[in-house]
């Protein structure tokens, strides 16, 4: 529904999505509030939840608030396909990460620190 007079949609829609975005954001925050992942020591569930909430929230912002849902496919594809190429970069970097890490540990003798120092909020 793209017309010459711009994007006109009922106000109620925006309020619904607005509320939904608050709920999704609260969901993301609760992941950290309940220390999901840190409590059991395996992070897979935490990462999965973070990604689910992230894509949900990003999707609603782009689709409804930025009106992409109602634009023609030519514009939608022009905007969504190029960032998809970034996934190649992400894939390559993830693929190489282990190798770089191992090189640092095995050949350069980097000390592996499993835990960061605990944070105390002291002003230096």
């Amino acid at each position: 529904m793209s017309s010459d007079v711009g994007q006109q949609h009922p106000l109620a829609l925006y309020f619904w999505i607005w509320g939904l975005l608050f709920v999704i954001s609260a969901g993301s925050y609760l992941i950290d509030f309940f220390q999901v992942g840190y409590d059991v020591g395996t992070m897979e569930l935490r990462w999965a939840l973070i990604l689910v909430f992230m894509f949900l929230k990003a999707g609603y912002i782009v689709a409804v608030f930025m009106h992409l849902k109602w634009e023609r496919l030519a514009l939608i594809y022009a905007l969504l396909l190029p960032p998809g190429v970034l996934m190649v970069l992400v894939g390559l970097m993830a693929w190489e990460a282990d190798y770089t890490w191992l090189t640092r540990v095995v050949y350069f003798g980097a000390e592996v620190a499993p835990q960061p120092a605990p944070v105390e909020h002291v002003i230096h």
Binding site: M54, A58, M93, P114, A117, H124
Partner: protein, 222 residues
């Protein structure tokens, strides 16, 4: 010719729109198309920032400082993880909502409400930048530098300042942009248009919120 191309739908419409030798993006004012293309290029900048940060985090042998602890706030004797960042997130969501309303009122030719909601958006943006300044101040006081920090991998600081700094710059620019455009709308500069300028400004603002979604997920929560 142009009408014939505009009538087709589905996958065929992509080829027809691109090859129709007229305006490619039907029903999209040129300013809006240009804003989208600018935002696309900005997507790559932030995409590359976040990818570099993840690469650095995955390859360092040192432990990554725990963001949940680093960004916690102590209120009334209770330490709440990531509290300031959560407040910043809700503030930005609020501003996105007011921006969406401004766009809607703009297209309804309700100039007064459009201006009020644009200024409300700018206000929430300003509050966000204020909280970010506080966050930077707090971390710098605690000894976080681009070359080191008291808790773990040195790259934590450089990634933090680079990514949140660049995002904060976008928010600040957005506040200025919103202020200028709302003033011009108020003065009647766009009275003979459909007020698509409000939607164009809105696209930029929603993008700033969108980037924060990814920063929040990958930098603060991961």
């Amino acid at each position: 010719m142009a009408e014939a191309a505009a009538q087709s739908t589905g996958l065929a419409s992509i080829a027809k729109d691109w090859s129709s030798d007229v305006t490619t993006f039907k029903g999209v004012p040129w300013g809006k198309a240009m804003m989208w293309i600018f935002l696309l290029s900005d997507t790559f900048i932030f995409g590359i920032f976040l990818t570099s940060y993840m690469t650095v985090r995955a390859t360092t042998a040192e432990a990554w400082p725990n963001p949940s602890e680093v960004f916690s706030l102590t209120l009334f004797g209770t330490t709440v993880p990531l509290l300031l960042i959560a407040i910043m997130t809700f503030d930005l969501i609020t501003s996105s909502g007011t921006m969406a309303l401004a766009v809607n009122y703009g297209y309804r030719r309700d100039k007064k409400k459009a201006v009020i909601f644009m200024l409300a958006t700018a206000f929430f943006g300003f509050v966000f930048v204020g909280m970010q300044a506080f966050e930077w101040y707090k971390l710098i006081s605690e000894g976080v530098r681009p070359w080191g920090n008291p808790w773990g991998a040195a790259q934590f600081g450089s990634c933090f300042f680079m990514i949140t700094g660049f995002h904060g710059l976008h928010v600040s620019a957005g506040v200025v942009y919103l202020s200028i455009i709302s003033y011009r709308v108020w003065r009647g500069k766009y009275d003979d248009t459909n007020f698509e300028i409000v939607e164009i400004t809105g696209l930029y603002w929603h993008f700033v919120d969108l980037v924060w979604v990814f920063i929040f997920a990958f930098f603060y929560l991961w």
